[in-house]
Symmetry: C2
Subunit: 336 residues, 2 copies
């Protein structure tokens, strides 16, 4: 019994040839006798030889490891993106090292530095809410590690970016309500100063403008955080006179919170008031009424971001690109 896994040395000895020849046979080089090659491959299989990835990395100076940093793994959207990346990685023979910043810039920087010290071939990052500076990104690039930002980007950063056009998603959602005949469309937004909140609100405002519907400030309210205190914002817009005939929400959970509030007011959804969420959470199809919502292609974002990064790694291209994926409006009963 062999205690340790076999190496090319073991193969070479067993076949009475040199390690260089074994190495060449293994990696499909052209200048190798087909018979020698077959013999090596056969023995390699028998001995269950596996190339030592670490040793290869050291000499080739590339690890095929890609570092990924997201704000939180445990979030609907990011876990979808990670899923896309992971599937793509295994296909393309890359490996992912995933870290989360927990929305903390210090931890984010620490994670990136740790990843860099692992000699990652590339970095995929979606920045924390706190992150303003792209210094660590520059650090990576100085080490010739290509960087691709996705979803939560730093607009000024000098790297390729993959984002979702949430603005257009919001615009489509609100135009859908307008086509349904709604005239007094309210908006429950997310925390101010966040690009997601701003993009979606801008879509809302532009849809109104496009259809010459005046903006009424009393129909707009913001949640301080994403999931809590939605009820305060809902109460505010529902108290407007005349009351809204539709509400476009920053996310599905706040929309679902509103369903019961609206029911208590004696109003029917969608007859008296239509509602639209954002995200297409699984539950949006389970609640009653089923929720119309804007689906973001998280899985595709992940897949594309990784694909683009691999292209940069392999072609050593330094061209910066901006990829924008589109949302899909999923219409259900809540806006029929």
């Amino acid at each position: 019994m062999m205690q340790r896994p076999p190496t090319i040395k073991d193969l070479a000895r067993a076949l009475n040839i040199s390690v260089s020849t074994v190495s060449r046979a293994l990696r499909n080089a052209t200048d190798i006798n087909p018979e020698t090659r077959q013999a090596v491959l056969k023995l390699a299989k028998e001995m269950e030889y596996e190339p030592n990835f670490i040793a290869q990395s050291l000499v080739k100076k590339q690890t095929h490891i890609i570092g990924v940093v997201v704000p939180s793994i445990d979030s609907n959207y990011f876990s979808e993106a990670l899923s896309g990346m992971t599937d793509c990685a295994i296909e393309q023979n890359y490996h992912l090292m995933i870290c989360q910043s927990n929305e903390n810039e210090v931890l984010e920087n620490k994670s990136i530095r740790k990843l860099l010290s692992c000699n990652i071939d590339g970095l995929l990052i979606s920045v924390s809410l706190q992150t303003k500076s792209d210094n660590v990104i520059k650090e990576a690039q100085k080490k010739h590690v290509p960087v691709v930002m996705f979803d939560r980007i730093i607009p000024g950063a000098d790297c390729t970016k993959v984002i979702v056009n949430e603005y257009e998603g919001a615009l489509k959602a609100v135009e859908h309500l307008i086509k349904k005949g709604c005239k007094r469309i309210a908006h429950i937004g997310g925390p101010k100063d966040l690009s997601v909140s701003e993009n979606r609100k801008k879509g809302y405002l532009d849809a109104l403008a496009k259809h010459k519907i005046p903006v009424r400030e009393e129909l707009i309210a913001h949640c301080k955080s994403f999931e809590e205190d939605a009820i305060g914002a809902i109460r505010k817009v529902m108290n407007a006179k005349p009351r809204p005939d539709a509400i476009f929400f920053i996310n599905d959970l706040s929309a679902i919170t509103a369903i019961e509030y609206i029911r208590r007011k004696g109003l029917r959804i969608p007859e008296d008031i239509k509602i639209v969420g954002f995200n297409n959470d699984k539950v949006s199809n389970v609640v009653e009424p089923a929720l119309t919502t804007v689906m973001q292609p998280g899985y595709e974002v992940g897949k594309l971001a990784l694909g683009v990064l691999i292209d940069e790694i392999e072609s050593k291209s330094t061209e910066r690109q901006l990829f924008e994926l589109r949302t899909t409006l999923v219409t259900r009963k809540s806006s029929r």
Copy 2:
């Protein structure tokens, strides 16, 4: 300007000492002159020296990389576990390589083998629904890679396991309903033959037995898949005569699906019928009525599983252990 990152060779040359001495100074060895040590450390800082992780791995024959395989990254429960592992990993100076099997045993095996060829120091796995054999686990162990299974385990496998006592969670949930005075408690189960389904159903049955409540088959129904076709199962149990006064669901989504069905029947929750879910999805606190549910400590499972694996890696212990974490019953309006 230095084109490539500095190595210990560069440090040695600059200080006119040998690489062995630099190496010792860097890693805190005892047999080193404190002054030499200071000088090396100072220069290392100035030159922004970072030890080459790959080179270290090659000589030390350990990578500090842990391979993780889950059925799907993009699932509430597993993303929580991954989150716990990730936080734990960075603290303990390990790195995670995460793969997903997409519930496919072939892909699972492929992922494990890829991870092994990366010389992972340990393997953390939650197996796919298809997986029956622990062959690949044995393969890993033959290579002296410790394995810890979590959540979805192969009962017979010879390795340390970290699981959640779902049985007890279900038992507590049903006893809670019994204490509330319910006499005709129904159960909507998950796909048959799945250990999750079986464990939770057993908790239900044992709670009834413990309180001498007879089991009525017409109050038990199974969903074929987790999220779809819940409505058929709900209809079945709601048609039992006399009708149930409580339902214990396999998960929150099926419970939420039932809310509207029950409302349409003209029944009130919780007055006429109480309901309890499983998982504590975010939405369970947003729906009306807010859902009583069983919380599984996914984050803690991840943290513990990784901690235990690291212990095995570092102490080279081969003792097999079984860790069982407990659920928490979160009582809300739907069962008051």
